[in-house]
């Protein structure tokens, strides 16, 4: 589904991501962990194609097509979707209006049904993210993804700012997006999830975990194992951990 090879990414003159290699197969969910500022969000933004980032070398291949230079909207149309850590607020643009504009064919009733399922039906008439709480922003993002139905679901810290009650709701909705109810063999949706706490992994099994440190993916392994070690010893110890496969 996604194949990243030797990717280097600059923000301005500064290289933020160095030599990233990552493969996500169809139906797989991967968790991405790592300390603040290590480059996790930058990787997701680079996969999405944001203009403030420059790919200086390497390639991103999605569904067997090289998308390294493709505009954002074409990547979205091909099936890449992203839940933003900090999405912009857009005064005057109603959440419901945006959903109708991006849904391409869903009826008003469908949209309302999706909105209810993530407790956002009261927000359709509100300006996007204006005055939304942390948890409401995440649910609004999730609702947009539900309408978009991407094949590669990228989530940037979906659990931050979400209270316990809504955590279960978010977890269920994300599991739905990733077709976790379907057997691995028949599942098409893939996921790349940034998580600090790992709470979200209680609702969906991740097949692989990766740790990013200083702009490099330093180890791959069982996500629960990685979390256990990180909680015990911190990230600096992580790549010495025997549970991880050194790159």
């Amino acid at each position: 589904m996604l194949e990243i090879t030797d990717l280097h990414v600059n923000v301005g003159d500064k290289e933020v991501l160095h030599d990233i290699n990552l493969r996500i197969g169809e139906g797989e969910t991967h968790a991405l962990m790592g300390p603040n500022g290590s480059g996790k969000s930058t990787l997701l933004m680079a996969i999405m194609g944001f203009g403030n980032l420059t790919v200086t070398s390497g390639s991103i291949v999605f569904k067997e097509r090289d998308i390294t230079r493709l505009p954002i909207n074409e990547r979205a149309r091909m099936g890449i979707g992203m839940l933003f850590q900090r999405p912009p607020t857009i005064a005057g643009l109603k959440l419901g209006k945006l959903l109708s504009a991006t849904s391409r064919g869903l009826s008003e009733e469908d949209i309302l049904r999706y909105a209810r399922s993530v407790n956002m039906d009261e927000f359709l008439d509100r300006d996007i993210n204006v005055g939304f709480s942390g948890g409401e922003i995440k649910r609004s993002e999730l609702l947009q993804l539900k309408v978009q139905q991407p094949d590669l679901v990228m989530l940037d810290e979906p659990e931050s700012g979400v209270d316990l009650e809504n955590m279960a709701l978010m977890g269920g909705a994300i599991a739905g997006l990733l077709e976790k109810d379907i057997h691995m063999v028949e599942r098409h949706k893939s996921g790349l999830i940034i998580t600090h706490t790992g709470y979200i992994l209680d609702y969906l099994d991740a097949d692989q975990g990766h740790v990013m440190i200083d702009g490099q993916i330093r180890c791959h392994g069982n996500p629960r194992e990685i979390l256990r070690v990180v909680k015990e010893k911190g990230y600096r110890e992580c790549f010495r951990c025997p549970a991880c496969v050194r790159v």
Binding site: G51, I72, N73, A76, P87, A91, L93, L98, A101, T102
Partner: protein
């Protein structure tokens, strides 16, 4: 002077279209009354609402002696050369609308002014809402397709009686060589509400206007909302002023300005002259192509019991907002148009749906030019 309405039928298809841009509804399906003036000729007046009169000003001044007390009270006749010119006319043109005590129109009344052959169109309107009356007025002003040059001088005086409510929505559709000088003012009595909406999304040579609301009775409310677009060669100097001259009065002045190369000066002035008053000015400008948006908000408090504020912001659309929408599958143009549409979406509470629709349509029509 009054021609028959055959004049309306003889309008060219293009002119009909230009008038439709300003909200003129020739079929009258959503209107309760109507006034239509081409250059200096009144070609049509009607009114179906009970308690509401729509009369050409010349006839009204003959019919009602007392009307002379209203004429030139809100707008001084010697304010400037334009008001002097209008006041000097022996054959005044324009419309008088009188909503009698307690009368109400749910559908809007429309006043349409077309500048066709004349070089100068002068208009004097007087709108009176007596105690408890409620009216919605939509005035569309346009120049005919083939009009090369011309000026439109329009004086409008609004008298909002005790607990009365007047909503006035003005939509302009001029062309590159037209100069426009509206001169409007409102006097608002106790508990009265005056909502003034202005939309100009078409090219014009020059517009200059600075309407004022004088809140002279307790607890009166005034709100001005303006949505304007400055295209290359257009110079718009648009302001609004509110004088909070009685206790408990409040005013809000909201502007959305877009330039695609023209110049927009957006002025606002609120004067807090009595205790328990509140005023706010909000101007947001979007520069799509190099042009000028100059916001000049002025707030003037004269005693401790007044609370005045303003906010102004001018800039371009943030790149990350466009890219955010693109990540949901919209292409760059769709994303830009969606953000602009949101920017212009100034929902005005209490506005009848037909009027909101008219405003939305004027914006939609302009969108191809973004």
């Amino acid at each position: 002077m009054t021609k028959d309405s055959g004049e309306i039928e003889s309008l060219s298809e293009e002119d009909r279209e230009r008038l439709a841009l300003t909200g003129l509804d020739l079929e009258m399906t959503n209107r309760c009354g109507s006034f239509f003036q081409i250059d200096q000729d009144v070609v049509h007046t009607s009114c179906a609402a009970e308690g509401i009169e729509v009369i050409p000003i010349a006839a009204a001044l003959e019919k009602y002696d007392w009307l002379a007390d209203y004429a030139w009270k809100a707008v001084p006749r010697d304010k400037d050369k334009y008001t002097k010119y209008v006041a000097r006319q022996e054959q005044p043109a324009g419309v008088v609308i009188i909503a009698r005590k307690g009368s109400r129109s749910i559908m809007p009344l429309q006043a349409c002014l077309l500048l066709q052959r004349g070089r100068v169109q002068h208009v004097h309107n007087i709108i009176i809402a007596e105690e408890g009356a409620e009216i919605h007025l939509i005035s569309g002003c346009a120049s005919a397709t083939h009009t090369e040059r011309g000026s439109h001088l329009g004086v409008s005086e609004f008298y909002v009686g005790k607990n009365a409510k007047v909503t006035s929505t003005m939509i302009h559709s001029w062309s590159r060589h037209i100069n426009v000088f509206p001169r409007s003012a409102a006097i608002i009595e106790e508990g009265g509400i005056f909502l003034s909406n202005y939309v100009c999304m078409q090219p014009v040579h020059r517009i200059q206007m600075y309407p004022a609301a004088h809140l002279v009775g307790k607890d009166g409310i005034a709100r001005f909302s303006s949505i304007v677009m400055g295209m290359p060669g257009s110079h718009l100097d648009i302001g609004s002023r509110a004088v909070l001259a009685a206790e408990g009065t409040s005013a809000e002045l909201v502007t959305r300005a877009i330039t695609t190369g023209g110049t927009i000066v957006s002025r606002g002035h609120v004067i807090g002259a009595k205790n328990g008053t509140r005023g706010h000015i909000e101007c947001r400008g979007l520069i799509l192509k190099d042009g000028t948006i100059h916001a000049i908000p002025e707030i003037e408090g004269q005693l401790t019991g007044t609370e005045l504020s303003h906010e102004a912001a001018v800039g371009k659309i943030a790149r990350h907002e466009i890219e955010y929408l693109m990540s949901r599958g919209l292409d760059e143009e769709e994303a830009t148009a969606t953000i602009i549409r949101g920017f212009l979406d100034v929902k005005i509470s209490g506005l009848p749906a037909v009027l909101q629709k008219q405003i939305d349509e004027a914006i939609d029509k302009a969108e191809s030019g973004f």
